[in-house]
């Protein structure tokens, strides 16, 4: 009742003002309030379904409230109802730009829990897969950032390179995009010489194509104006807010899980960890470009050093046998049946394993109760923690910088929303 009478009072006041033609009266001065702009879940900056509520004063952003949950698919509840093998296709769809890296991370976590170790050939193949996935993800990040800032050509060049990578994934795994390539104890199938040849041909052409993109953007006056000094974050703030991956390395901290907690065969390979010191959008972009060159170096070394051997570990009670033997031999058929129906039973316990995914530290925390189904699976997704810094990065920026900053953080909502 109070609101109704207050509204009536306001209306009558406005009417009276109009009658008297008193143009000085303002019931509520609109310039005193902030404008709240809704950058809704569907917007052309192709970073997925993220909703931002921006509080604007003129064109400057005063505050920003991100809202997630538009792609929450219930992964953790699904994991409690799937066996460990059944969950591998689900991990593809987490960071859906680089599905091979997620596969590698998940399988490593389960192997750590179970005590299985993949043979050396499988480990080298996994390194090749993860680094190619990283190249693919960084190409996408740079392409869409450039497109949002205005350079549409770079987007199409990046997509041309990604199509070549899709062909390589097709030769390697059989699928263009959501691969589910790794298995617990190894990989699904061996790498053929045709795939090795295709990878080498791609890597031979890659530096020239990357140089084209660099020439377009690195010293471009418009790109520099839009990215240098925009979205600055300090080193201490970056560490305490939970940044990881290229975002953290763009602030000068050289935290790279491949160096700090080495996994697979990264301690035998020679590569540099790229850091830049400024902490703004341009340095994050430079980190991504130089990381792609480092990844190409890693893939060359891994292909040269790959030993011969089997691609699955020889533990019949834990590791699914190769498909040809399942169709031909009785014992493998029995093992396959039991392992698919009851699942791998890791011992009772809890473990946390992290890898360096394309966006940052991708970790899996598994609590096992000895059965074939995990009791609790928590996915530490890098985009979730990277997005937390968005209110800090956006404060004081103009509204047209929002798109550039979101592109430089490179969030993937499939991962952030789990």
């Amino acid at each position: 009742m109070d609101k109704v009478s207050k509204d009536k009072q306001e209306v009558s006041q406005i009417l009276k003002a109009l009658e008297n033609r008193d143009t000085d009266l303002s019931v509520e001065d609109p310039l005193d309030n902030y404008m709240v702009l809704n950058m809704g879940p569907q917007h052309p900056a192709t970073h997925g379904v993220l909703r931002l509520l921006l509080k604007l004063e003129g064109e400057t952003i005063v505050d920003c409230i991100p809202e997630l949950g538009y792609l929450h698919r219930g992964y953790e509840k699904l994991a409690e109802n799937c066996t460990y093998h059944e969950f591998i296709p689900h991990t593809d769809r987490l960071d859906y730009i680089s599905p091979l890296a997620n596969n590698v991370g998940y399988v490593l976590a389960v192997e750590n829990a179970t005590g299985v170790e993949a043979p050396p050939r499988a480990q080298y193949i996994r390194v090749v897969a993860a680094e190619l996935a990283r190249i693919s993800s960084h190409l996408m990040a740079i392409g869409s950032t450039a497109m949002d800032v205005g350079a549409l050509t770079v987007f199409l060049w990046a997509f041309r390179e990604r199509e070549k990578l899709y062909d390589i994934f097709d030769l390697l795994t059989g699928v263009r995009f959501t691969t589910s390539y790794t298995r617990i104890g190894g990989v699904a199938q061996d790498i053929s010489s045709e795939a090795v040849g295709a990878i080498k041909r791609f890597l031979d052409d890659f530096p020239a194509n990357l140089n084209e993109m660099k020439k377009m953007l690195n010293r471009n006056r418009i790109f520099l104006d839009r990215t240098v000094g925009v979205g600055v974050i300090s080193k201490e703030m970056a560490i305490s807010i939970g940044f990881s991956g290229p975002n953290l390395r763009g602030c000068g901290v050289d935290y790279d899980v491949r160096r700090y907690f080495p996994y697979l065969v990264y301690d035998k390979l020679d590569f540099n960890v790229i850091t830049e010191n400024d902490g703004d959008t341009f340095s994050r972009y430079m980190v991504r470009i130089r990381e792609m060159e480092e990844s190409a170096k890693i893939v060359y070394q891994a292909l040269d050093k790959m030993p011969q051997g089997s691609v699955k570990a020889d533990m019949p009670k834990r590791v699914l046998p190769m498909k040809e033997r399942v169709y031909n031999k009785m014992e493998e058929l029995i093992h396959d049946f039991v392992l698919v129906n009851d699942g791998i039973n890791p011992p009772v316990g809890e473990t946390y394993t992290a890898i360096e995914g394309s966006k940052g530290e991708l970790g899996f925390y598994i609590v096992s109760d000895g059965s074939g189904y995990p009791w609790r699976m928590k996915i530490r997704s890098p985009s979730f923690y990277n997005l937390q810094a968005l209110p800090i990065l956006l404060k004081g920026q103009m509204i047209s910088d929002v798109v550039a900053i979101i592109g430089s953080i490179d969030p993937i909502m499939g991962e952030a929303d789990k």
Binding site: H43, T46, G48, L71, H72, R73, T178
Partner: protein
């Protein structure tokens, strides 16, 4: 819609006019991509240089529902997102067609869990379903061609909805 209905029952000139309208409409469909998750990447590849969608006249990916006539829902629809999809569908002017891309949008896909809507046809009428997780861009091109056939046949949503499945 009124003009279409009257066209079908009248003489020679109006049927030729009707055919001209359908021809021009089918060769310049403007899609509104609602890229939600992984299928959005294949949709971008579908617009990319290799599986060129510009040769069908549909490369104008206007991200505004008021200016488009084909809604491509690509990705898993959660309950929270369902309201948004419905709002965008309501904002599109007639005639409009809907493609449900991928198994997640068609039937809920591999996510049989609490927040995922098991198929967008629970709240939006769909014309063509595309199977695949994610569907290859070739499948999406076939779906576009099916929509073109529907446009040519002159049937809009209001008149008749035959459902087509593309594998």
């Amino acid at each position: 819609m009124g003009i279409n209905r009257s066209n079908q029952s009248e003489g020679f000139i109006t049927t030729r006019l009707d055919a001209l309208m359908s021809w021009s409409l089918k060769n310049s469909l403007w899609p509104m991509p609602l890229g939600i998750s992984c299928c959005a990447i294949e949709m971008m590849a579908f617009a990319g240089p290799r599986f060129d969608v510009a040769r069908f006249g549909a490369e104008v990916f206007r991200f505004s529902p008021r200016q488009s006539d084909l809604l491509i829902v690509a990705g898993t629809t959660t309950y929270k997102m369902a309201r948004v999809v419905r709002k965008i569908y309501d904002q599109m002017p007639d005639p409009k067609w809907v493609v449900s891309m991928g198994v997640c949008a068609s039937t809920g896909g591999m996510y049989r869990s609490y927040p995922v809507v098991q198929g967008i046809d629970q709240f939006v009428p769909v014309d063509v379903y595309v199977a695949g997780c994610p569907p290859r861009p070739d499948s999406l091109l076939k779906a576009l061609m099916e929509i073109q056939k529907k446009v040519e046949a002159g049937k809009t949503q209001i008149e008749e909805r035959g459902k087509v499945f593309v594998g």
